[in-house]
């Protein structure tokens, strides 16, 4: 089944919003679970598009990377940045 890009992206955003009370960051494979029939690389392309559209952001600890909604969770500004 070919993935309907816009619908799939909406599903990703909905998933993040639903969890936003308890979580602001997600592992990549939280998203692959949403689309069990899709290859991981197809899901990555969607996430990349969402980052390009500035709807989602990467969060990195240096060793591990996660994805989150833009503006969710602790922001650079709260670390005292202008």
């Amino acid at each position: 089944m070919a993935l309907d890009n816009e619908a799939a992206k909406a599903e990703i955003i909905k998933f993040c919003e639903e969890k936003s009370k308890s979580k602001s960051k997600f592992y990549f494979n939280d998203f692959t679970k949403l689309f069990p029939d899709e290859k991981a690389r197809a899901v990555k392309k969607l996430l990349t598009e969402l980052v390009q559209e500035e709807k989602m952001v990467f969060w990195s600890s240096g060793s591990t990377t996660m994805y989150g909604l833009a503006g969710a969770g602790k922001q650079a500004a709260s670390e005292g940045e202008a």
Binding site: Y27, A40, T48, Q52, S60, G62, T64, T65, A76, G80
Partner: protein
């Protein structure tokens, strides 16, 4: 005059080795003087504050750094590691002290102009402190603020033609030895393969989708100058299939003292006459060399330790049928202790003509399996141990080979499937149970 008192750090300078404390103080002085008249883009005293926060950590016995965050350059999921000080009022110069990883040139072939340009960017837009190089091989720029990141990225990519490296759950910057650019032992063109795979997997390098980090390293021969076998999730080590080439005349010249052993590397001291029996034959780990006026090698017993070739490079040369051995799963001791790579493919041709398709197929099979089966923050070496070597071999689509067994009887339980065995078999489980109780 130092901004903070740092008695414990000062003590570190008294040892016999060069000290990073002296280096940081030197940079602090240089920034304070500002002889070049630079318009520093981040606080001028950040090296002083770095020393201050380090001294404080020594006093308290705990770190004052927080790491991680939404810093990076647009569209990249790696290359920048956010770092913040949890005492920003005391040490405003390092309140934000992000690390930038920059991809090193292939085989670390720098010219001085590139080094100068890198330093110029970093003096202006960062702390001036670098780490050449990180464990993965990247150039590491230590300490800058968020507004500088895009500027640094633009200058690196546009002026110097150099990219950010990998960090996070990505393919990390691939690393290679000097290979055929300098070395006669190189069994394949390591730099070409490294460059090709780096370009092919740009998306994996910059957009994280793996359970955890993943490293490639390329060694041209089993001497392993980039230590691929110990440090990379997938190591490509040059090897040969046929026989070590022997020039008996040159062997005689080594024995007769006409050619210095080890290419003269130990010639600064008189070690006495070269003794081929003691220095080569007796040191062969698989005892496959003998010398009775003529050197003989039992090639099928050779374990590629490289000692005889390294000792007598003019007499012995690697074979002609060259390629690479691929090992999987090496890692440092974050969990479970350190682990060396396990042999996955004993020999694979490194074929530029088909754009290394066989190697790329193998890599993608392994990634698909690990992305599916790997837990979050699990290196492939851990997935391999958890699910078994045979699961990896199966997923990689490579033939089972006796050489994949680490040592005999390490694990005697091999479960064959009917389709693995010629002719297969039929078994009626109920009939079996009439003879064997549960």
């Amino acid at each position: 005059m130092a901004k903070h008192k740092t008695p414990m750090l000062d003590q570190l300078e008294s040892g016999p080795w060069p000290s990073f404390v002296s280096d940081i103080k030197q940079e602090a002085d240089s920034r304070a003087k500002n002889e070049k008249g630079l318009d520093y883009q981040i606080p001028v005293d950040c090296p002083d504050d770095l020393l201050g926060v380090l001294e404080m950590s020594y006093e308290d016995g705990e770190t004052h750094w927080k790491h991680g965050g939404i810093v990076g350059v647009f569209g990249y999921g790696g290359g920048v590691i956010g770092r913040y000080c949890d005492q920003p009022e005391k040490f405003p110069g390092v309140a934000h002290f992000h690390t930038v990883r920059v991809a090193q040139p292939n085989g670390k072939w720098y010219n001085s102009q590139l080094l100068r340009s890198l330093c110029d960017i970093w003096e202006l837009r960062g702390s001036g402190l670098t780490n050449m190089h990180g464990a993965t091989g990247d150039i590491v720029f230590l300490g800058t603020t968020t507004p500088q990141l895009e500027e640094i990225f633009w200058e690196l990519t546009h002026d110097l033609d150099i990219d950010l490296g990998g960090s996070g759950s990505n393919l990390r910057t691939p690393a290679t030895c000097l290979g055929q650019s300098r070395c006669e032992y190189a069994c394949y063109d390591t730099q070409e393969l490294c460059y090709n795979l780096t370009q092919e997997y740009q998306d994996e390098l910059h957009r994280p989708a793996f359970p955890y980090k993943f490293k490639f390293k390329f060694d041209g021969c089993p001497n392993g100058c980039v230590a691929a076998i110990a440090r990379s999730d997938l190591s490509f080590i040059g090897t040969w299939k046929d026989e070590i080439k022997i020039d008996q005349e040159a062997v005689a010249a080594y024995v007769g003292g006409e050619i210095a052993p080890n290419a003269g590397a130990h010639a600064d001291r008189d070690w006495g006459a070269f003794d081929i029996q003691k220095e080569v034959v007796d040191l062969c780990p698989s005892k496959c060399i003998s010398y009775d006026g003529k050197l003989t090698i039992d090639n099928k017993e050779c374990v590629r330790c490289m000692h005889c070739i390294n000792t007598m490079p003019q007499a012995l040369r690697v074979g002609d049928e060259r390629g690479c051995t691929i090992l999987c799963g090496a890692k440092a001791p974050i969990l479970d202790g350190p682990q060396m790579g396990s042999l996955l493919v004993p020999f694979m041709e490194v074929n530029k003509d088909d754009d290394y398709q066989e190697i790329k197929d193998l890599i993608e099979n392994i990634w698909d399996w690990w992305m599916e089966e790997g837990k979050n923050r699990e290196r492939i070496g851990e997935t391999m141990k958890r699910l078994g070597m045979s699961a990896l071999i199966d997923a990689a689509g490579v033939p089972v080979d006796a050489r994949q067994v680490q040592e005999p009887r390490h694990n005697p339980y091999i479960f064959w499937k009917a389709e693995d065995v010629k002719g297969g078999w039929d078994r009626d489980i109920n009939e079996f149970r009439t003879r064997h109780q549960r």
